[in-house]
């Protein structure tokens, strides 16, 4: 016998189910219960940096849109700081850097407005290219899926990014890079997520 390691075990995950909106975005479920829902304003009014919109769709292994998915975004401000005590530095008043994103129930399309994040510090040395962490939950997803959104107009920074470079298959890295377009003078990035099949998105065990 040895002494016992008395660590606790993490609570096991369960699917968020089809009615995740009731809990996390009741307005989308069809009723207003809270005075304010959380996560609809990621950057706040005072954030500096480029105002952008990111849009996409989550596709399942049959090629169909996942219409009941919920996503959460987590990002740094334009200086590369997170709104957190260990986030690297100060952020603007009202900048939370976290958002909750729901789909159009008919089409599965989603989108959110934010500011483009700056480069952030690497794990120990160096920097990470601008990116947004994304967490995806839905019916049929047993443990929330983590991925990252990078930006296609950051080719130089992306080429040096330690996380992108961790993806051994170069062609799979492209699944993590959003494509910049303009619509009515506004910047819109496209980021589709494929849960399964050809060009399956890279997901991380973080």
């Amino acid at each position: 016998m040895t002494q016992e390691l008395n660590y606790l075990k993490e609570t096991p995950s369960q699917t968020a189910g089809p009615y995740v909106h009731i809990g996390l975005a009741p307005g989308a479920a069809g009723f207003d219960l809270y005075k304010q829902e959380l996560g609809w304003d990621i950057a706040g009014p005072n954030a500096k940096g480029e105002r952008i919109r990111i849009e996409g769709i989550v596709i399942d292994g049959t090629g169909s849109p996942v219409k009941d998915v919920l996503l959460e975004a987590w990002q740094a401000n334009a200086d590369g700081n997170y709104a957190h005590p260990e986030g690297g530095g100060d952020v603007e008043q009202g900048f939370r850097g976290w958002g909750r994103v729901i789909t159009d129930f008919e089409t599965g399309e989603w989108g959110f407005n934010t500011i483009k994040p700056g480069s952030t510090q690497g794990r120990n040395v160096g920097t990470q290219a601008p990116h947004i962490n994304l967490w995806i939950v839905a019916r049929g997803i047993n443990v929330g899926l983590n991925t990252r959104i990078y930006f296609d107009d950051e080719a130089e920074a992306n080429a040096a990014d330690p996380v992108l470079n961790l993806v051994e298959w170069e062609r799979r890295r492209a699944t993590l890079i959003a494509k910049r377009t303009e619509r009515d003078g506004a910047v819109v990035y496209r980021f589709d997520v494929k849960l399964q099949g050809e060009d399956e998105t890279v997901f991380f065990d973080i």
Partner: protein
């Protein structure tokens, strides 16, 4: 005191795998490639911070938070309470806990739920609260009903409350479901059974907690939640290019 470092790696054999054929919806929604293991950077160690300005004290009382004045939700009145700890056994204070559930008849207040059990006009079905400095949280609600769902033709979900927890870092983000002691549907449920280890399933079953009841008023169940713990940085480890 040593600085906190990365979160302990998630035990993927303890959590359900992505592909669980008896839970049919997972088949086309499960990635086929392996997850790429990523050592935590600042992007994973940090996560959103919430405060009392974000929520209302009534949000944690599902019996009254959607009820008309003078009315209340129908069903067995319960307190669901517990602590949010990390794997080191330390409380996780001031973290956001969100809950959602069906009503006492097993019906969700959701555009997409068409089960024949009636909507309760006084029950919304969601609540949220922040843990206190000891990691403690509590909700008041009604015990949800079981309901049928289309997996097999005769599949029934055990009574359950969905729980969403943040922790301090995005790597701790967790959604799970709380079940209730004694429910014969638990071990028949394909969603419960996505979890391979019976001991892990037991961790999702809240015991009756008579010490926490309000006598002659409300019964209680206890549901503790454990989030990933963080290692201590005992020695600096600076890897080139990492």
């Amino acid at each position: 005191m040593p600085k906190p470092g990365e979160f302990y790696q998630r035990d993927r054999e303890w959590h359900p795998p992505a592909l669980t054929r008896d839970y049919k919806t997972s088949v086309s929604r499960s990635p086929q490639y392996s997850l790429i293991s990523l050592q935590n950077s600042v992007s994973e160690i940090t996560g959103p911070v919430f405060g009392h300005n974000d929520i209302d004290p009534l949000d944690k009382d599902l019996i009254y938070n959607y009820a008309q004045p003078g009315e209340s939700a129908i069903g067995e009145r319960i307190i669901l309470h517990g602590r949010v700890l990390d794997e080191n056994g330390r409380p996780v204070p001031k973290t956001l806990v969100e809950a959602w559930q069906a009503n006492a008849g097993g019906r969700y207040r959701h555009k997409k739920d068409t089960y024949l059990a009636p909507i309760d006009p006084n029950f919304g079905g969601c609540g949220r609260t922040l843990t206190d400095e000891n990691g403690y949280y509590y909700f008041r609600t009604v015990k949800p009903g079981a309901y049928p769902w289309r997996n097999w033709v005769n599949s029934w979900r055990p009574a359950h409350i969905h729980m969403s927890i943040f922790g301090t870092g995005f790597a701790q983000r967790l959604i799970t479901q709380c079940y209730f002691e004694g429910d014969p549907l638990i071990h028949k449920c394909p969603i419960v059974n996505t979890i391979p280890d019976p001991e892990a399933i037991n961790r999702l079953i809240a015991p009756l907690d008579l010490n926490a009841t309000i006598p002659l008023d409300t019964i209680a169940y206890k549901f503790d939640i454990v989030l990933r713990g963080r290692r201590s940085t005992l020695f600096e480890n600076r890897l080139e290019g990492n």
